[in-house]
Point group: C2
Chain length 208, copies 2
Amino acid sequence: MARKPQQERSKATMQAIVEAGFISLQTHGLAQTTTRHIADIAGVGVGSLYEYFPNKEAVFKAMNAHLTTEIVAMVRALMPSLVRLEIRPMVIRLLGHFRELLNRNDGRYLKYAGFSMHAERSRQLEAIQQLLVELIMQYALHNPQLTRLRNLPVMSYIFIHGSVFTIIRHLSEPNSNISFEQLSEGLAEMIASYAEAELAKLDAAPRS
Amino acid sequence: MARKPQQERSKATMQAIVEAGFISLQTHGLAQTTTRHIADIAGVGVGSLYEYFPNKEAVFKAMNAHLTTEIVAMVRALMPSLVRLEIRPMVIRLLGHFRELLNRNDGRYLKYAGFSMHAERSRQLEAIQQLLVELIMQYALHNPQLTRLRNLPVMSYIFIHGSVFTIIRHLSEPNSNISFEQLSEGLAEMIASYAEAELAKLDAAPRS
DNA sequence: CTATTGTTCGGATTCAATTCGGAAACGGCA
DNA sequence: TGCCGTTTCCGAATTGAATCCGAACAATAG
């Protein structure tokens, strides 16, 4: 049964289990990440795991929530400075921090992110998507010419999904003759040049 | 043991198992897709499955290979006509066919594609990536001004991954107030406007 | 038609996920 | 401090899926 932790020690246990989930995934891979392994790493019995999580999937969801919280905190902290930058440096800065976060603890979060991309789990990425939509809105408010763009929702969807998945995939791949810097500059260039081209088009034909 | 099929009937069995894998995934979801289910749907005993596939994961790999083969065939057939189009209609046409393929048989392939995005499996997407890189090369050969673009490898990587993941994610989501047409036009616009902007930049400063 | 090789099968085994009935730790209170 | 109700912890027992394996069935060469 999913119990609500009442005492301090049980909160510590929950936390340890979630962290153990990341560690197990990182060091043993998805197939070897059994409830027993997770419990062992967390230093608790298997039964304890089921006191707080109805099943293994719930542990993954908690891991997701944890990572999401960290990402949200990071982006919110960055937002005030991001909105003052040009598009290219804004994107590069954001992606750089994103990478740093994913690489913390020997890539613990990255490993999870790589597994969380599949359909049933990626719905939980929606919080991130919402957050980035908000970032774009804030950015547009600070750069009012962007509010003239008509299909901002569609393009936001594309830029967000395209960037996030591409970045995670790239970071998850050891091979690849493309550096992260090239990738993030490319993404920045792609986004910036779209915005510039679209604005130029609007200037050329103000009333279409 | 992974046996090589010698007789016709065993090939039929393998094929039936792979197809049953798609059907099971589509109708029962990932968790309910057990070896017994797959074997039942294929109309064979569980043991038969293990004659040709060392484990369940191998069935998924075979499904991947099957889908990859179909996609490669489709793109190759399309390639001659694609290289003659402008970028926007080219992208839209390609994505339209991609969608049609994924939606065949009530979305049987799409369901699989949604699950195959995660890290351990998406490495098998490399064949698709290679193919699309080749398409871009062919396209550039037919539109020589594009060969002036310096960072084509990086941008190809971005466009390919960004588009594929974004499309699969969008098609997998029932909700979303964005239509497929808007999405594919957006992707086409993004790619085309980048290429145009970059070429214009090169024209402005021929020797940088 | 029969020996040999290929194919199918499903019962037996193994192991991970989940359950459950207490044991142990805690926190207040007399 | 010693007692009691509550919270937490636990690991043996259960369940079911993945995988193995040897017997039975089918094809086919000679």
